[in-house]
């Protein structure tokens, strides 16, 4: 039991001391048994305060410390390090949360907040009294990373991981890499095309011996913990045998085209967001990667027509399942584009209402003249915030990329075709940063911007063959303004991938917006609560390409730092079995989600055994033990019960 405990009560500037009488708290706890000293401090986390604590530990020979400050989520590790530097075991430190769960939550009642703070600190002292010195468990780790999603973010993460010395498995659900970027074609701000960017990255991925790329591949299950995951993937075949490299063979390409023409199956083409059709045998665009066609077996009738022209067709290929041994996972699964409900702004009820992604593909599919459904398009209305910033619907967030993306598409259309007039019906243009120059360019081009608020969205009408968009325009003193247009483009939101089983398999928590959640946007922006699983790109929140790349590289850097030594320190908070009490009823082993508990022989009887490297310390086995033979280190009965006693006072 610890009896020279140091107590530090943080004012957090004024965040705590405005509502909690920190002096009073200090006085109340200073007299407790085992407390050697109690101090208040302006910023416990500041360097000078940290040094003071270290000096106290040394000079006063403290055997445990308690810091009452903010949530342990922010500074648990900061103060554990302080303890280490002072010569204490980091687990002889307890952090008490008197900010988020006290001063802020009870800022309406300072008197009670102070009483609660005293209770919380006392409970913390009790807990630290019974704390044990623990040593983190070192486990060997595999310096290999699974990157899920071979879009720009995923490929970029893979390339840098490899350059930093980590081997990479890169898996992609589609048969072609590049993700959304390859669909976007012309990109801001560099005006490169998506194909160019994807080509550059794919070339590096392909040449890199440290990167193994699997296309048509999905993650199906995952076992293990940080440093030692086993991921199971299934690989859907392309049904094209290797060597069908059209890139180097014009004659082969001709035959491929004939084979495609011969295919009797015609289905909507998801690459073109369903504004065009594709065959069961397909390719995406002319420099697709890998440069090899694929067959969509879900729609293929196995008629064999294509094989007459293309000898590489091999309908007998089989699905494969592989186990990958990896140390960490980076998810870069990207996003879906929002699908508006039918009839919203005439979507699917009028034949000239499309989404922005469809419009971008339309520009790519039309060379000389912009036409859609045989109609020559001159006047285009863009309706913004479709599926973003909803007041009624679920998507409260701003999708970040769409203002710039729509404006960029409008500029592109105007420069590519003659006589285009663009009308932007928006809710306040958000071309942040240097993207503002695109907004300026659109204005100088003669694009007209009309602004509405959330309560008065525009209406799209069809009258005597003319499509009109009418809005109460904030910029024209709230007058009703109408534009007669040939095409309505709905500027749709970024939404999380609809069929993303990755979240379920990896158990990544999602936020209110249903995107994957990081631990903290500033402190741990690419880390998730599950050790060894990182997120980057648009699966985390709407991002543009540059931003996705940045987060991908950040994730790569963190994953490499974690695995490069090929060992990982694990928390020692794991379950412990009391050999005397255990009677091996199997309840704990059954409930353990990680299969960490097995039977073993001890002094002639069967008892449970916990595998340290597998146990995650969740404690699920605790309550099911009728003998009360299991305790969780750091959460023992003495610790928890003494806390309960203090809190109940």
């Amino acid at each position: 039991m610890k009896n020279k405990i140091g107590i530090y009560i943080c004012q957090c500037g004024s965040n705590i001391s405005d509502y909690v009488d920190v002096e009073k708290v200090r006085d109340e706890v200073a007299t407790m048994d085992g407390v050697a000293l109690a101090r208040t401090t302006m910023f416990a986390c500041s360097d000078s305060a940290q040094n003071e604590i270290i000096e106290d530990i040394r000079n006063e020979h403290l055997d445990a410390i308690v810091v009452a400050s903010c949530s342990p989520k922010l500074h648990l590790f900061t103060f554990r390090n302080v303890a280490i530097r002072g010569g204490l075991n980091p687990y002889n430190y307890v952090q008490v949360n008197i900010r988020e769960q006290d001063s802020w939550a009870h800022s309406d009642n300072p008197a009670e907040a102070t009483i609660k703070a005293v209770k919380l600190v006392k409970a913390g002292i009790e807990r630290v009294k019974y704390s044990k010195a623990l040593v983190p468990i070192d486990i060997p780790a595999t310096n290999r990373v699974l990157v899920i999603g071979a879009g720009v973010a995923g490929m970029r993460a893979a390339i840098d991981l490899s350059s930093m010395g980590t081997k990479v498995y890169l898996i992609e659900r589609e048969h072609f890499v590049g993700g959304r970027t390859s669909q976007w074609s012309r990109l801001f701000t560099s005006n490169e095309t998506g194909e160019e960017v994807v080509y550059r990255l794919y070339n590096q991925v392909e040449k890199d011996p440290n990167i193994t790329l699997y296309t048509g591949t999905e993650l199906v299950s995952m076992k293990g913990t940080v440093g030692n995951f086993v991921a199971t993937i299934t690989i859907t075949p392309r049904y094209i045998s290797p060597g069908c490299n059209i890139d180097e063979d014009a004659e082969l390409e001709k035959r491929l085209q004939k084979a495609i023409d011969a295919c009797p199956v015609e289905i909507p083409d998801p690459f073109n967001f369903n504004i065009a059709t594709q065959k069961a045998l397909y390719r995406n665009f002319h420099s697709e990667f890998p440069v090899c066609p694929a067959i969509d077996m879900k729609s293929c009738t196995r008629c064999g027509e294509c094989k007459k022209y293309l000898e590489y067709v091999d309908l007998d290929q089989q699905e494969e399942t592989l186990d990958l041994h990896i140390g960490a996972i980076i998810t870069a699964t990207g996003f879906d584009t929002y699908e508006p409900e039918p009839s919203l702004y005439g979507y699917q009820t009028l034949d000239n209402v499309i989404t922005l992604p469809q419009f971008k593909r339309l520009i790519e599919l039309n060379e000389e003249k912009l036409t859609f459904h045989n109609r020559h398009i001159r006047n285009i209305a863009y309706i913004y915030c479709v599926g973003s910033r909803q007041t009624e619907g679920e998507n409260k967030y701003c999708s970040r990329y769409c203002c710039t993306s729509a404006i960029h598409a409008a500029i592109h259309a105007k420069s590519k075709y003659e006589g285009i007039n663009n009308y932007h019906f928006n809710r306040g243009i958000r071309t942040y940063g240097k993207q503002e120059t695109l907004y300026s360019e659109a204005l100088e081009n003669g694009d007209v911007f009309l602004q509405f608020d959330e309560d008065h969205p525009p209406t799209v009408d069809l009258k005597s063959g003319k499509t009109s968009v009418t809005v109460r325009d904030i910029l024209t003193s709230d007058h009703e303004i109408t534009a007669l247009v040939d095409l309505v483009v709905l500027v749709t939101a970024m939404v999380p991938r609809a069929h993303n089983q990755v979240a379920g398999i990896l158990k990544i928590p999602v936020g209110r917006d249903h995107f994957f959640n990081e631990i903290h946007p500033k402190l741990k922006p690419v880390e998730t609560v599950i050790d060894g699983i990182f997120i980057c790109g648009a699966c985390q929140a709407p991002h543009n390409i540059t931003e996705s790349t940045k987060s991908a590289l950040s994730a790569a850097s963190k994953a490499n730092a974690m695995l490069r030594e090929e060992k990982i320190k694990l928390e020692p908070t794991i379950a412990k079995i009391s050999a005397e009490l255990c009677t091996w009823c199997n309840a704990c082993s059954e409930i353990c989600p990680f299969d960490a508990i097995t039977k073993k022989q001890f002094n002639g009887k069967d008892i449970a055994r916990v595998d340290e490297s597998i146990c995650k310390g969740c404690g699920m086995c605790l309550p099911v033990c009728d003998q009360n033979a299991i305790e969780l280190i750091g959460y023992t009965d003495t610790e928890i019960e003494s806390m309960i006693d203090q809190l109940a006072v």
């Binding site: 988020e100 802020w104 939550a105 969740c618 699920m620 099911v624 109940a648």
Partner: protein, 133 residues
């Protein structure tokens, strides 16, 4: 009993899921009585029924398990496991003549600050009313 005469509630929260929500409530200055105190565990399925009984013994009016529910990073069966604990504890409470309604459980997601505060206000109210009766 604290100065404002609110019912004392012990909350078992979880470090990764419900505790962040309780933090968030504070961050957003959403108020609930200060007679609510929290002990944080790795998972809501780790609460021993004896701890719950101990809390009632020591004078808590209510115990609330802020469960991980489907967000649990450890197991898909967390909800069931936590419910089992609650059932077991309630049986033990009945044996001791305690009203099982004094133990409550609800899933609190990592951003469910509002839900948490609502649960607390309602629970405090129901416990206080019960006391008066």
């Amino acid at each position: 009993m604290t100065v404002d005469n609110h019912a004392n509630i012990l909350v078992f929260s979880t470090e990764k899921i419900s505790d962040p929500a309780i933090d968030l409530a504070g961050l957003l200055k959403k108020h609930y009585p200060a007679s609510v105190v929290t002990i944080s565990l790795p998972c809501s399925s780790a609460v021993k029924p004896r701890w719950i009984l101990r809390a009632f013994d020591k004078g808590f009016n209510g115990v609330f398990i802020a469960a991980d529910g489907t967000d649990c990073p450890y197991s898909n069966e967390c909800s069931e496991n936590t419910s089992a604990i609650v059932n077991k504890a309630q049986e033990m409470m009945k044996d001791k003549g305690l009203d099982p309604a004094r133990l409550k459980m609800a899933a609190i997601c990592s951003v469910c600050a509002e839900a948490f505060v609502k649960h607390m206000l309602a629970f405090v109210k129901s416990l206080s009313e019960e006391q008066e009766n």
